[in-house]
Symmetry: C2
Subunit: 325 residues, 2 copies
């Protein structure tokens, strides 16, 4: 068993696509026997991960994400880099297919030997989908990819999930007809490390510049992620490919100007990921106990109906929990 | 024991200040024997809570919070209402005294029979301080207060804690010399149900109006708390008392225009409070076990050092936990 995992790992590390696909299938599997094997594989290849630049990209449908990712990806490939494109789309379980990571929308990129495009994994919960994508990212790094783009479509909390696994979170937006900003979901500003106004080509250039200024003013009021990084607002056109090189240069600058920045970020992301997984697991363990689950529901109902003070309800639950453990 | 609690409750419900002070001391106590009695008391008076308007007020030092609260409080009292002023200042443990809830800064208000001012409770953690303030608020309601103002100074996460226990969260700010907004901590915008620019009296009136417009534009990009409430940006002057009546009218409108709004908010606040208290309690129970604590620290260290994949680390911890319970 472990022998075949070792073989798979070695094959993966030489960059073989077949091995990568096999490994991803293992990581995406929900079968209990595969879960342990997937973690064992990740443990084996862990020292060979972390070598790519991890970039999250979001924007509502219509902002031109696919066009942007294709143009951006091809530009990186032209520079000799290998690019993986992953996606988080929690709705894919429901719709039976994701609009993200759709190769037909990035045809030229999908045909390149140096590119690897994977649609969003399915999953019952966002947490499950995020775990699969995150671990697929590690596999891609071990397989030698230099840049991993993680795309999300902005449904629910998927942006937060992507921001928690990447080095840099890029938000795409559009200038609307009246200069107002379009395509940027409210509340996304706080996650952004940069905002790019797409389709900034004539005759929309002036509108794009005005929208950019508007956003720069608004950024003044949002909580900054870093004390030493001011979120740039750039213009670009995926169609004419202008502004893309500047975006890549900016991302590289972000990564290199403070050596500890990315390292510290990744450490805290990993630790937080572990803590969240433990919290989720504890919650599930507690829920497995029929009595405790019924008690919790009953207490919550009493709190909801304002028949029991919240702290007292919590205390009763914790006492019952302690008695059973 | 329960007899004296019943007596205390009855005295509290008639509005006796002595009883209120005694009850608050009980709720603020960290002694184990007092914890259970405090919860019992809250359980007794719970049906008599919920009758006040709960308003959170924040703003950095210098914005004029004390002057505002005094002027606002006196205005409410003039309308025949009883007003309680509480505070959350997590630094009070360290400094040995809070700058909030300081009666010397609200002298006239503190002298009114219809007012009750209480400094921030001490506490080792923000959670502990928040619990005490929240439960003191319930006691004030049972004692017949019509409005409870909960003040916070904007240190760490104290605004989030206050926003989670009030009906309405008011943020105070100032117009700076160059029209830029001052005194509004970045990231606070998302918590606000209204923003009031204080000291909007000549010769600062125009600057205040420009700052207000700036904030209205920025609000466009922040995630709204409600689909059906647009966050107003108002001007006021605690000194000349202008704009205060408008603020009170607005808060009453917020409460009355959708009957379910406050009720639904309070229910979800109570349930979330219970869930957080349970999560904190579970975490503490797990930490009490020496072996598990040591294991968790060790696993986290390995994840931090990038020697172990986060999911695998979490799985190992959960397996160990299950074995011990």
């Amino acid at each position: 068993m472990s022998q075949s995992l070792q073989t798979l790992a070695e094959s993966l590390l030489t960059g073989k696509r077949r091995a990568l696909a096999k490994a991803i299938t293992l990581v995406e599997s929900s079968r209990t026997e595969d879960t342990a094997r997937a973690q064992e594989l990740l443990n084996i290849i862990l020292p060979q991960t972390g070598k790519a630049r991890r970039i999250g990209i979001t924007g509502v449908p219509g902002v031109g994400k696919s066009t942007f990712i294709e143009a951006f990806g091809l530009m990186l490939i032209e520079q000799g880099l290998k690019v993986a494109v992953l996606a988080i789309d929690p709705s894919s379980e429901r719709t039976g297919g994701s609009i993200l990571g759709d190769k037909t929308r990035m045809l030229e990129l999908s045909r390149s030997e140096a590119a690897f495009i994977r649609p969003s994994p399915a999953g019952k919960t966002l947490g499950g989908v995020a775990r699969r994508t995150r671990e697929t990212m590690l596999l891609c790094e071990a397989a030698g990819f230099d840049v991993v783009l993680v795309e999300t479509v902005g449904v629910g909390q998927s942006e937060t999930a992507v921001a928690a696994m990447v080095d840099f979170f890029l938000v795409l937006a559009l200038a609307g007809a009246g200069d107002e900003l379009q395509g940027m979901k409210r509340g996304i500003m706080e996650l952004a490390d940069a905002i790019a106004i797409n389709k900034a080509e004539e005759p929309y250039l002036q509108a794009a510049e005005r929208a950019a200024q508007q956003i720069r003013n608004a950024l003044h009021f949002s909580a900054p992620k870093y004390d030493d990084w001011q979120v740039p607002v750039l213009l670009c056109s995926a169609l004419t490919q202008s502004g893309l090189a500047e975006i890549w240069t900016m991302i590289q600058q972000f990564a290199s100007e403070r050596p500890e920045r990315i390292r510290g970020l990744r450490r805290s992301q990993s630790v937080r990921w572990m803590q969240e997984t433990v919290s989720d697991g504890l919650r599930r363990l507690v829920e497995k106990n029929e009595e405790l689950r019924a008690l919790r529901k009953d207490l919550e109902q009493q709190v909801f109906a304002e028949e029991l003070p919240p702290t007292l309800a919590a205390m009763r639950f914790l006492e019952a929990f302690e008695r059973r453990t």
